[in-house]
């Protein structure tokens, strides 16, 4: 039997060392219009700014409700088709149910000092986060810049988004 030499300690490849560098920019996409679909992206954007990380927020499809003047304070928890909520479908479909669950959840969030969506969006903008709406979705829903809250800087294309996301991380929610 021949003895093989013990391999030396592997050297970490330069590409892997890249992953240890701190994140300096994130571009977050919010694509859903339920309460639980909007908040993760907002928490991530605000959290990024709190760490001094540059943050872009891109709202597309029903995610745009979070930054539309007439929809912002009407965003609800999905009580149908949301098995994780633990509410039986027929119960969840009753009129007023999603409003009730939403109010309960928002009460709890307020206790934890999590702002309602309108205030949160403005907070992120005031912290230096940059907010954009998706042109394709805007065209699909027949919207205009004036329909959006002031915090939204511009309506941009997916190509514009990729350009501004370059060099950073992209987070899809």
């Amino acid at each position: 039997m021949t003895m093989t030499a013990i391999a030396p300690e592997p050297v970490v490849a330069p590409e892997l060392e890249e992953e240890q560098k701190p994140i300096t920019k994130v571009s977050i996409i919010i694509s859903k219009g339920t309460l639980e679909g909007v908040y993760p992206g907002l928490i991530m954007a605000n959290g990024a700014r709190m760490e001094g990380i540059e943050a872009n927020l891109f709202f597309t499809f029903f995610g745009m409700d979070a930054v539309l003047k007439r929809k912002q304070d009407k965003i609800k928890v999905a009580t149908v088709g949301n098995p994780a909520l633990g509410v039986p479908t027929l119960l969840g479909a009753l009129p007023g149910m999603s409003g009730f669950v939403t109010r309960q959840m928002m009460k709890k969030m307020e206790q934890l000092d999590i702002p309602p969506i309108g205030e949160f969006v403005q907070m992120i903008a005031d912290s230096g986060g940059r907010l954009y709406a998706c042109k394709a979705s805007v065209d699909m829903f027949g919207l205009k810049k004036e329909d959006f809250v002031d915090a939204v800087e511009d309506i941009i294309t997916v190509g514009d988004f990729y350009e501004m996301a370059a060099g950073g991380q992209i987070i899809f929610t």
């Binding site: 605000n46 709190m50 001094g52 205030e119």
Partner: protein, 105 residues
């Protein structure tokens, strides 16, 4: 717990340099921490935020969220980020000699 010596004082700190014993703090130490974090001088506006953070921690046992900071310290969010560009909640806490704020907001 690691110790850091600053201005001839031994400070109990965590790995990131947050004071673990707020009573070891002084205004001179605050100014020194600020300098090390690229804030060469603490203006009255900086002090307003730092004092608010420290007082809230000492009263309630936890640091205020950035939301509360913006609403109740007398300095709004926009100005907070101008004064402390790399994150007001964390930096004001560090300068104020209180442990690192826990929480996502």
């Amino acid at each position: 717990m690691p110790t850091l010596t600053m201005l001839d004082t031994a400070l109990d700190v965590d790995a990131e340099g947050f004071l673990q014993k707020p009573e070891q703090w002084s205004e001179q130490i605050a100014a020194e921490i600020a300098r090390e974090n690229r804030i060469p001088t603490l203006t009255e506006r900086h002090w307003k935020v730092v004092r608010y953070m420290r007082d809230r921690y000492l009263q309630t046992g936890s640091a205020p969220s950035i939301r509360t900071l913006g609403k109740e310290s007398g300095v709004d969010i926009k100005e907070l980020y101008k004064l402390f560009p790399k994150g007001p909640a964390k930096l004001a806490a560090k300068i104020g000699g209180i442990p690192k704020p826990k929480g996502c907001i």
